[in-house]
């Protein structure tokens, strides 16, 4: 089954990209933007039918490779 993982920088970690994108959006007249934070999105097709187990596998991947927990968080969502 397909599981997605979203990796974002932790709340208190500086996000230089997000900052520049925010400034540019404002420069292009997109007003009312409070903050922009960017991250990474993964879609992983796991050979596992039990959603709980599949999520656990992806969670393990996040902890060991996809995210650096020193600066990043991850969120796991089941797609199908």
């Amino acid at each position: 089954m397909k599981i997605s993982a979203i990796i974002t920088l932790k709340k208190d970690v500086l996000d230089p990209q997000g900052k520049v994108i925010h400034q540019t959006l404002e420069g292009m007249n997109f007003k009312n933007v409070n903050e922009v934070r960017q991250g990474k999105y993964f879609e992983i097709d796991v050979n596992e039918n039990d959603p709980k187990k599949a999520k656990e596998i992806v969670e393990d991947m996040c902890e060991k490779l996809l995210a650096n927990l020193v600066i990043e968080n991850y969120k796991i969502i089941e797609i199908q």
């Binding site: 230089p16 990209q17 520049v20 994108i21 540019t24 420069g27 292009m28 960017q38």
Partner: protein, 227 residues
Amino acid sequence: MKSSVITFPGSNCDRDMDVALKKFGFKNKMIWHNDNELPKSDLVVLPGGFSYGDYLRCGSVASKSKIMQSVINFAKSGGLVMGICNGFQILVETGLVPGVLLRNKYLEFICKNVFVKLDNKDNPYFKNLEKDIFKLHIAHNEGNYFCTEDQLKEIKDNNQVAIYYCNNDGKIEEEFNPNGSIKNIAGILNKEKNVLGMMPHPERMIDSCLSGEDGSLFFKNLLNNIK
């Protein structure tokens, strides 16, 4: 001959380009990204570097800066616009030249000398050059040129490929492709041939004690072509 080099926040080859243009006889002006108007120029250069830190996509933020509207108008009226490295990335983001530049195949920044072969001399940049194979220098993380099948056909039909990566004999093969570019493409012209985007840095090859001197040939010839 008058040239203008645009400095974006994060540009870092702007001075090198200024030095090179002046060395070969251009009267060059440095233009700030936030200016509205381009001064009267025979050539506009978008230099290399990391405009806006390469954030979001390389060149994407710079392509939206104030001065770019004048640069786009200048190009559309037939003016010569040359983008080197990050300048090339900005050009593709504006749509002045087709395609996109992806991350290098091995996901590593590459700084080294390469050989390139001129494909088409029927343009103001390469006209009258005697050699076909040049030794130039690349330094980039996102130089992997990509376009759709349809675009590629159009590019070829219109003779828009400027240069290909090759070996010292001019062989254009995958093993001489440093970054995974489609068909070894290292530089592209627009349909009208007045806009050139390329990854190699001719401004780093203008002295025998540097990486080489093929950049000097390029600039000398360019000046003569514009005169």
